[in-house]
Subunit: 232 residues, 2 copies
DNA sequence: CGAAGCGTTGAAAATAATCAAGTCATGTGG
DNA sequence: CCACATGACTTGATTATTTTCAACGCTTCG
């Protein structure tokens, strides 16, 4: 693993306390995983034996029911660590991970991670920090799901995605993701049809510009307003 | 703090690795907090400066929106530790905690906990374990909320409560909690009315016996069936 | 005894899901 | 390079579910 990787790792909250040298060893111990769009990294229920770091691309964490209904738990981009708990305990992954776009990841086996945590107990506190942050976000989303109507939730989903994955587009803030309406629905907890109707409506109103696997936010203020309180 | 408390703490997953002596010191360092039914322990947004252990009673963790809508995140009984993260980092509580019944709790300030974690880094791993388990449960509930109809969710809520707080009752499995229909609704993500209707229906069908702040499960099998797939 | 809190139930309304039938791009193979 | 198959998206009509609003009965407790 090269210097480039090492620099990327320096941006990871888990490893902030590490010395230059340790970081280099870590980069060297990592395995490089590459996945094309739609390819799987691991499935829910698989033994959780590796911790992953996203170098580039987007990873979708999702859960599927017996009935085949899918819910997207998170969409993670560049410079994100996930499956941290795999480094601490022998369990199974609680979600499946798939690449949404071609992605490069670094990963470490549990034994390597466990050894690192043994040498640097303070890193476990960092790991806790990461998990606690995810917990808080999930609690917020749970709360939204329980109390808000679909349009409000969808607005918030878009704002969250914009925050994490937005970049300047032709006329506004473009979501740098190739999300289908189905994906949007699964992120929001609704159906493909309802999501489509709402997106169409907002496009007509000039709030969004949307297309095939593409959403661009034109009027951020209006969207934020919709996120706060449903329309009259 | 006395020997009784010390024994109670021995049952805590966080402290399993501790020596007898450390456990005694821990019990001594603890503060005893008592709360009557409905009394508050801390509010969402308060500085998170104490970690709590439930000696007896039930604690409700909930979130409230600006509009006053409440969602119950968890109902915790005896022998549960919560607000673990307060021992690791300076943050604010992400939820409010209230006693549902008269409760006795032990608590420790952040500095005490931090010192303990410093002496015993392996405890941080235990703490992570506890948080990860909560995370998994929340992910499951999130998934249910997104994909299942109200009756199925309510059935699962009851089964979860029975698992954690059930004890043999007159004719079945009694939930050892004084939950109102409102509480049940907030746990399930629905309204007081819908929850009431469903509980009434199941009582008529002989699956439950319900009353004022009381639910007893008479036909566990039927409830499990309802949790799996909605009625025809 | 009275008030407050908790629970139930009916009727109406709103919301979202479902079903069905399209259109429109996109990219692929002929 | 074009035809076509596929996947993505849209939209209307219908249906189901759930919420909302309103009214009332029963307990429990002060």
């Amino acid at each position: 693993m090269n210097r480039e990787n090492q620099e990327s790792l320096g941006r990871c909250a888990l490893f902030t306390d590490l010395q230059e040298e340790e970081l280099r060893d870590l980069a060297r111990a990592a395995r490089l995983d590459e996945r094309g769009a739609g390819e799987n990294l691991f499935l829910m229920g698989d033994p959780a034996d590796r911790v992953y770091w996203i170098e580039s691309g987007q990873i979708r964490l999702s859960k599927v029911t017996e009935q085949g209904e899918e819910v997207i738990v998170a969409v993670l981009g560049k410079d994100n660590l996930f499956a941290v708990v795999a480094g601490l305990r022998e369990t199974t992954y609680p979600v499946s991970a798939d690449a949404m776009t071609p992605s490069r990841l670094l990963s470490w086996g549990r034994s390597d991670m466990a050894a690192l945590f043994g040498r640097h107990p303070e890193l476990v506190v960092n790991a806790m920090e990461i998990v606690a942050a995810r917990m808080r976000e999930l609690q917020d989303r749970y709360h939204e799901l329980a109390t808000l109507a679909v349009p409000q939730r969808l607005a918030r989903t878009l704002l969250r995605l914009a925050d994490e994955h937005g970049r300047p587009g032709d006329q506004g803030l473009l979501l740098d993701l190739r999300l289908t309406r189905q994906d949007l629905a699964e992120l929001t907890g609704t159906t493909l049809y309802t999501a489509s109707r709402i997106v169409s409506g907002w496009s007509q109103a000039g709030i969004l510009s949307s297309g095939r696997r593409r959403v661009e936010i034109l009027d951020l203020g209006a969207l934020e307003q919709l996120a706060r309180s449903g329309p009259s």
